[in-house]
């Protein structure tokens, strides 16, 4: 049976290198994916991956388990990526001109076209993936990090806030702006992707009051 993260951490703290390696094996794929999305460059992502796990290795003794191991690891990894980004010259400005990506309003209602009503695997091809990565890259790093942790990796608001050292309110506001901006950046591409003309179905999500 696989040991829990916590059990492996305890073993690794006593100098059990195999336990540390087991943790690396468990999370290296996720950390690499995070770094690729943050940095968009294999060489930098690999650097960040190595740096993050080195920090984990060196920090293990002081890790008290107040947050889960994975939250701690992702916090270290995200910060390594953000540091790398700060040293770049080509990163987007930290301000997000959200208004540029919102639908035009014609009188009361926004003007908006639907995207093709097709399953994800049909919408995702080499070209659309490329467009999506480019859009993500254009987000300021702090917004990109929130979007990746929260929507791609599935962290909760609280875990994302903890990983980035920001409040839950800040997580929610950045996430909202990041999502709206990405949608806006991608909309003209997906609208043109050939629409069957079907109206999208209504989606309900309210809890009973």
């Amino acid at each position: 049976m696989d040991l829990s993260d916590q059990a492996l951490v305890e073993k690794a703290k006593t100098g059990d290198y195999q336990a540390f390696e087991a943790l690396v094996n468990r999370y290296e794929g996720k950390v690499y994916r995070l770094a690729m999305r943050m940095l968009r460059n294999q060489e930098d992502a690999e650097d960040a991956l190595q740096e993050a796990f080195l920090q984990v290795y060196r920090g293990l003794k002081g890790f008290e388990g107040r947050s889960s191991f994975s939250t701690w690891l992702f916090r270290l990894a995200t910060n390594v990526c953000l540091m790398k980004i700060r040293h770049r010259e080509t990163e987007p400005a930290p301000l997000l001109p959200l208004e540029d990506y919102l639908p035009r309003h014609e009188e009361e209602h926004p003007y908006i076209q639907d995207w093709p009503d097709k399953p994800e695997e049909v919408l995702l091809n080499k070209e659309s993936r490329q467009k999506m990565l480019q859009a993500l890259e254009r987000l300021p790093a702090e917004y990109r990090a929130v979007f990746i942790l929260r929507d791609v990796e599935g962290f909760s608001n609280a875990e994302t806030g903890e990983a980035l050292g920001i409040s839950v309110a800040a997580v929610k506001s950045r996430l909202h702006r990041a999502r709206l901006t990405l949608r806006g950046m991608l909309s003209s591409y997906f609208e043109k992707m050939g629409n069957g003309g079907e109206k999208s179905s209504s989606s309900r999500g309210c809890e009973e009051s």
Binding site: R33, Q42, I112, M132, S202
Partner: protein, 77 residues
């Protein structure tokens, strides 16, 4: 509720974090406002597409170099 007000609430709506009364106002609005409905659906689609698209595996050589790198650091103390 106006379209512009809807916009501010959409993430909370999608995440199921909106208060029930607000949520119902919003859904009532969308029954009559097709553009807002489309907006919500395409916003949701954006999120699912990113979730779906993010599955590139760790290259084998990156994995090997990582383990070599860490082992070396470990041996160096």
């Amino acid at each position: 509720m106006k379209c512009k007000e809807i916009l501010d609430q959409l993430s909370e709506y999608i995440d199921g974090e909106l208060a029930p009364e607000l949520c119902q106002d919003l859904e009532r609005h969308m029954e009559d406002c097709h553009p807002c409905l489309v907006f919500v659906n395409t916003l949701k689609k954006t999120i699912t597409l990113y979730k779906y698209a993010s599955s590139e595996p760790l290259p084998k050589e990156v994995h090997l170099r990582l383990h070599d790198y860490l082992k070396k650091k470990f041996q160096d103390g």
